[in-house]
């Protein structure tokens, strides 16, 4: 059976349709999930999409983190359910303490939308297995609060355990510590990524198709599991 990958729509989610499209392009079965539901249904993996959940009022992701569906997602993720948080989704994962650190206001204080080069630093996660370590990819970035920060000891630990998943190259767009664009948890099933791979799935609407690898990675992982 084709693996089912859910995408949660929070009030104010914006890139949810794009994430569903990317899952479809990769060959998996996209499933729309609603923030107000208290179960995940029968999905094999979940994407928390980009956007401005609850307007990003208060702090990005702070209110969404308390949605009913998050009460189902948090234990499932801790149990190994593959979860990818993109942009606002990454912020939600940090707010929910599923990933360490926090995302704060860009150092230059402006929203930034641009095509960004990334270097993949780890391909042992559920979402990056189809990439080579050291491979450079081009994907859009668009955020106002994408500056990844964490205490030095946390950063050191992330580096030591190979949990920095991708780094910005060719210029850091938001001041993220150590050029970090994405990280994973110890088990490698939960991934947070500031750039938007779902907007790089074909050359017509994105700067490249380099982002598709995140979605084919999870498909291949689920099929072989």
């Amino acid at each position: 059976m084709t693996p089912r990958v859910g995408v949660i729509t929070f009030p104010g989610s914006l890139d949810d349709r794009d994430a569903l499209r990317a899952i479809d392009y990769a060959g998996a079965d996209p499933v729309a999930l609603w923030h107000g539901d208290d179960s995940l249904g029968a999905v094999d993996a979940v994407v928390l999409p980009g956007g401005f959940s609850y307007g990003d009022y208060l702090r990005c992701g702070a209110i969404a983190r308390f949605s009913p569906i998050m009460a189902a997602l948090i234990p499932a993720a801790k149990d190994g359910l593959p979860v990818l948080g993109i942009c606002n989704g990454f912020q939600v994962l940090c707010e929910a303490h599923l990933l360490p650190g926090a995302l704060t206001r860009n150092d230059h204080r402006h929203f930034v939308c641009r095509d960004q080069r990334l270097r993949i630093e780890s391909n042992t996660t559920a979402w990056t297995a189809d990439y080579q370590v050291g491979e450079e990819i081009l994907v859009p970035i668009k955020n106002g609060e994408g500056c990844y920060i964490a205490e030095e000891s946390v950063l050191d630990e992330l580096e030591r355990s190979g949990r920095v998943l991708a780094r910005y190259v060719g210029g850091n767009p938001n001041g993220s510590y150590r050029d970090i664009a994405g990280i994973t948890n110890e088990a490698g099933n939960i991934v947070g990524l500031m750039p938007h791979p779902e907007h790089a799935i074909d050359d017509l609407t994105g700067p490249s198709s380099d982002g598709l690898g995140f979605f084919t990675s999870i498909l291949h992982r689920l099929v072989s599991a």
């Binding site: 609850y54 307007g55 009022y57 208060l58 209110i63 308390f66």
Partner: protein, 83 residues
Amino acid sequence: MSRVVVEVMLKPEILDPQGRAVEGALDRLGLVGVTSVRQGKRFEIELAGPLDASRRERLNELAETLLANPVIENFTVHVVEDA
């Protein structure tokens, strides 16, 4: 060293979407009886040396023109420490 705190709040008649969002969240998360939440800004400013009259005046002017937008916001300036 002197320390000044400037608080800037939206005027009561101005819509505060952020406060509204927080209000909704507090309510959903079980804090009963919340009737209003307003979200504003707080600036902690440190200055070298004591605040003479002219610096105090400049500070008040800048609170009004730079830190707050008097079209939509009110502000207060507290000198916390002056030495």
